[in-house]
C-alpha cells in the first residue's frame, strides 16, 4: 500500500482512494469524540454544543468559566486530591510486587508457569462489576470497606496485570549473560539486581507503572463499591455528575484528563521506542 503504481487501472485508483477515505472516516470516529470536548470546554455558556459565537470564533463565546468552577468547587477539588492520593499508592504496590514476580516468571524453570500467569492476569479479565461486588462483600467482612487502604489494595490488584505484561515483555529481550557476568565478578544477587538488571528493564517497569497509574486513576466501578464518601475520586464525581445533573464543569475536567492521557501516552511511546532501539543493539 505504498503508492499507486503508474500502470494502475481506473478501478484500482478508485478503490485506492475510497479505501483511504474509509480509513480516514474511521480515524475520525476514533479521535473526534475526544477532540470535540476540548473546544466545548471553553464555552462561555452552560451549553453542551457550539454556540453561534463560538462558530464565528468570537472571543466573547469563549471563557475559562468551567475551569474556574472546577478549581473553586470543593467537591471537585476533594475528588481530585483523593484520586491523587490513591493512584500513586496503588501504583507503588503493583509495581513493586509485579516487577518482582515478573522477574521470577521470566526465569528458565518455573513450575506451573501457565497457571500462575493465568491467575495474575485474571484481574484484567474478570468483569469489573464482579471484582467490585466480591471486594465489597469480602472487604466489609474484614473491615476494609470504605477505607483508604481498602481502595488502594483493590486498585493495586487491578493494576498488577498491566505491570506483569509490560515487565515480562521487557525481560524477554534481557540478556541473561549480563547477570552471570556480574555474579562472576563478585556481585551478590541484590547488587546485580539494582545495578545491572533494574537499569535495563526500567523502561518496561515505568510503562507498567504508568498503566497501573492510569488504571487506578480512571477506575470507577470498584471504588463505587469499596470506597465510601471519604474516598470519592475524580471518576466517581464525574459518574455522579453524568448520571444526575450534568454540569458543564465535566467538560473542563475531561479536557484536563485528556491532557494527562496525552502526557502519559507520549512517555510510554518514548520509552517503548527507546527499549526497542536498545534491544536492536543487544544480541538475542
Amino acid at each position: 500500500m505504498s503508492a499507486l503504481p503508474p500502470y494502475a487501472t481506473t478501478g484500482q485508483r478508485v478503490w485506492y482512494y475510497s479505501f483511504r477515505v474509509i480509513c480516514g472516516l474511521i480515524f475520525f470516529f476514533l479521535i473526534a469524540p475526544i477532540v470535540v470536548i476540548i473546544p466545548l470546554s471553553f464555552n462561555a455558556q452552560d451549553f453542551f454544543t457550539f454556540t453561534p459565537e463560538m462558530l464565528r470564533l468570537d472571543p466573547e463565546g469563549f471563557s475559562l468559566k468551567h475551569y474556574r468552577d472546577f478549581f473553586n468547587n470543593d467537591s471537585w477539588q476533594s475528588a481530585m486530591w483523593n484520586s491523587l492520593k490513591i493512584a500513586p499508592m496503588a501504583t507503588l504496590l503493583s509495581v513493586s510486587f509485579g516487577t518482582l514476580a515478573a522477574i521470577g516468571l521470566s526465569q528458565q524453570h518455573v513450575p506451573f508457569r501457565r497457571a500462575i500467569m493465568a491467575i495474575l492476569i485474571s484481574p484484567m479479565i474478570v468483569p469489573l462489576i464482579i471484582s467490585a461486588a466480591g471486594m465489597y462483600f469480602f472487604y466489609s467482612r474484614i473491615g476494609l470497606q470504605g477505607t483508604y487502604l481498602g481502595v488502594v489494595l483493590a486498585h493495586a490488584a487491578l493494576g498488577i496485570p498491566f505491570v506483569i505484561i509490560t515487565v515480562t515483555a521487557t525481560l524477554v529481550g534481557f540478556d541473561r549473560s549480563l547477570t552471570r557476568a556480574a555474579a562472576n565478578m563478585g556481585a551478590d544477587p541484590v547488587t546485580t539486581f539494582f545495578r545491572i538488571q533494574m537499569p535495563l528493564i526500567l523502561p518496561g517497569v515505568i510503562s507498567g507503572g504508568l498503566f497501573a497509574f492510569i488504571t487506578s486513576f480512571d477506575e470507577v466501578v470498584v471504588v463505587l463499591f469499596v470506597g465510601s464518601a471519604g474516598q470519592k475520586t475524580l471518576p466517581w464525581q464525574m459518574f455522579i455528575g453524568l448520571r444526575e445533573q450534568i454540569s458543564p464543569t465535566i467538560l473542563a475536567v475531561a479536557t484536563i484528563l485528556v491532557a494527562i492521557s496525552i502526557m502519559l501516552l507520549t512517555t510510554v511511546e518514548l520509552l517503548r521506542r527507546r527499549s526497542e532501539r536498545l534491544r536492536g543493539m543487544s544480541p538475542g
Partner: protein, 423 residues
C-alpha cells in the same frame, strides 16, 4: 585423571554425582523463581481471588432459613409437602417459638426477605406476625395453629409451607434458577410466571449486543489495522497515535463525550439539522437506547480490536499477495484466498478480547443505555447496591464469570496470555 576413566557416575567437583547436583541446582532455581512470585501471588489471592470466591459462595448460600427458624425446619421434617393438609400443631408451635426469638433479635425480616424472593407475598405475612408474636407468651399460649391463622390467614396457605420446606437447606440452587427465570417448586424445577421473567431476556440482550459490538469493531478495525500494517513505519507510527490516544483516555471522558454528542440538542443532531438531513422538530434519539450503547462501546473497544489485528498483520509477508497476483488472481481473490486467511488469528484474538470486555461492561451502558440498553452487569449492580438481593446478584455474577472464564480459556489456548500486548 584416572577417576574419569572409571565406570562410576560422573562426579561434580565436590564429589557428589553430577546428576544429583544438577537436579539440586534446578530445584534451587525453581524455588528461587517461586519465592520471587510468592508475594504477589499471595497479594492477589487475598485482595482479589478470595473476594471473588466469597461472592461465588453467596450465590448458593442459604443458611439464613435454618439460622432463624431452626425448630420449624426440624418440625417440618416429617411433613409431606405433597399432602393437601397443613402441617400439624407441633410445627406451628415451633414456628411461634422461632418467630418470638427472631422478633426479639429483629432478624425475622431477613428471613422474610429471603423467602419473599421465592414466593412473593410471604414477606408481609412474616413481618405482620413477627410484630404480634413478639408479645406472646410462647410457653402456654396454645393452640398455635388457630391463633396464627387468625393472626394472618397467609399461614393457612399450603404454598407458603411448601416454600419454607423447599428452602430449608443450607445450600440452594434457588438463586441460580432465579437467574435463569426458573424456580424450585415443591415438585421440582418450574418456569416462573411470565411477569417475573427478566433475567433470560437480559442475558440474551447482553450477548446479542456484545456480538453486535464485536462485529462492528471487526468491520471498523480491519481496514485500519490493514492500513497501519502496510504503511511505511514512520507514517504508521504517526497514525498509531490516533488509535492509542483513545486507548489511554479515561473511560469516563469518552463516555461523557458520547453522552454530550449524542443528545438531542447535541453536536451530532445539530450537524444533521444544519445539513438538512433531519428536520429540527424531528431530531434523532441516539441516546438512552441500544443504539447509544452500541455506538459508544464500539468506540471505546475499537483499539482492543485494532492492536491484536495489527500485530498479526505485521507478520504477513506482502510477497504472498504479489505471488498470488502474478499467478493471475484478481485483487479480490488474492485478498480473500491468500491474505484474509492469514489474518484470521488477529481477528480471533481481537474478537475474543472485545467480547470479554463487552459482556462485563457496566459504566457505559449505565450512562448512555437508558433502560433498553443496559447489560447484565447493571442488573448485578442493582441487586448488590439497591435491592439487597445479594444471592441473586451473586448468581448472575457467577453466570457472567463462567462465560468470561470460558472465553479466557479459549483465548489462552489460541493466543496465549503471554502474548497479550499493550500498545
Amino acid at each position: 585423571m584416572s577417576d574419569t576413566t572409571q565406570n562410576g557416575p560422573v562426579l561434580a567437583a565436590d564429589g557428589t554425582p553430577l546428576k544429583r547436583s544438577l537436579a539440586k541446582a534446578l530445584r534451587l532455581q525453581k524455588l528461587r523463581a517461586l519465592m520471587l512470585i510468592a508475594p504477589l501471588l499471595l497479594f492477589i489471592l487475598v485482595t482479589f481471588i478470595l473476594p471473588v470466591g466469597d461472592m461465588l459462595f453467596r450465590s448458593v448460600d442459604n443458611r439464613i432459613v435454618q439460622e432463624v427458624l431452626p425448630k420449624t425446619v426440624d418440625a417440618l421434617e416429617s411433613w409431606d409437602p405433597d399432602s393437601s393438609e397443613l402441617p400439624d400443631e407441633a410445627v406451628f408451635a415451633a414456628l411461634a417459638v422461632d418467630m418470638k426469638a427472631a422478633a426479639e433479635l429483629k432478624v425475622h425480616t431477613r428471613v422474610a426477605k429471603r423467602l419473599n424472593y421465592e414466593n412473593p407475598g410471604m414477606s408481609s405475612v412474616f413481618r405482620k406476625s413477627g410484630r404480634k408474636i413478639g408479645k406472646w407468651d410462647v410457653e402456654n399460649d396454645g393452640p398455635y395453629k388457630e391463633r396464627l391463622i387468625e393472626l394472618d390467614d397467609g399461614w393457612a396457605d399450603l404454598e407458603l409451607w411448601r416454600t419454607i420446606k423447599t428452602y430449608s437447606g443450607t445450600r440452594t440452587a434457588g438463586y441460580f434458577l432465579n437467574a435463569v427465570d426458573l424456580k424450585l417448586g415443591a415438585d421440582g424445577v418450574e418456569v416462573r410466571p411470565e411477569t417475573e421473567r427478566i433475567y433470560n431476556t437480559m442475558l440474551i440482550r447482553t450477548m446479542r449486543m456484545s456480538l453486535i459490538i464485536t462485529f462492528s469493531c471487526i468491520m471498523l478495525g480491519y481496514p485500519v489495522a490493514w492500513l497501519l500494517a502496510n504503511l511505511p513505519t514512520r507514517k504508521a507510527n504517526l497514525l498509531m497515535i490516533l488509535v492509542l490516544l483513545p486507548f489511554w483516555t479515561s473511560l469516563l471522558v469518552r463516555t461523557s463525550s458520547w453522552k454530550i454528542l449524542l443528545q438531542q440538542q447535541g453536536v451530532i443532531n445539530d450537524v444533521l439539522v444544519w445539513i438538512g438531513l433531519v428536520a429540527d422538530d424531528n431530531r434523532l434519539v441516539l441516546i438512552n437506547n441500544e443504539l447509544g450503547t452500541i455506538i459508544a462501546m464500539t468506540h471505546i473497544l475499537l483499539p482492543f480490536m485494532i492492536l491484536p489485528m495489527y500485530s498479526v498483520m505485521q507478520t504477513i509477508q506482502p510477497t504472498y499477495l504479489r505471488a498470488a497476483k502474478s499467478l493471475g488472481a484478481t485483487n479480490w481473490t488474492a485478498f480473500w484466498r491468500v491474505y484474509f486467511p492469514q489474518s484470521v488469528p488477529g481477528i480471533g484474538a481481537g474478537s475474543i478480547l472485545v467480547f470479554i470486555l463487552a459482556v462485563g461492561y457496566y459504566i457505559t451502558p449505565a450512562l448512555v443505555g437508558g433502560t433498553k440498553g443496559t447489560f447484565i452487569s447493571n442488573l448485578i449492580a442493582y441487586h448488590i447496591s439497591t435491592s439487597g438481593n445479594w444471592g441473586l446478584g451473586a448468581a448472575l455474577g457467577s453466570i457472567l464469570l463462567a462465560v468470561v472464564l470460558l472465553l479466557y480459556w479459549v483465548y489462552d489456548k489460541i493466543v496465549g496470555i503471554d502474548n497479550v500486548k499493550l500498545g
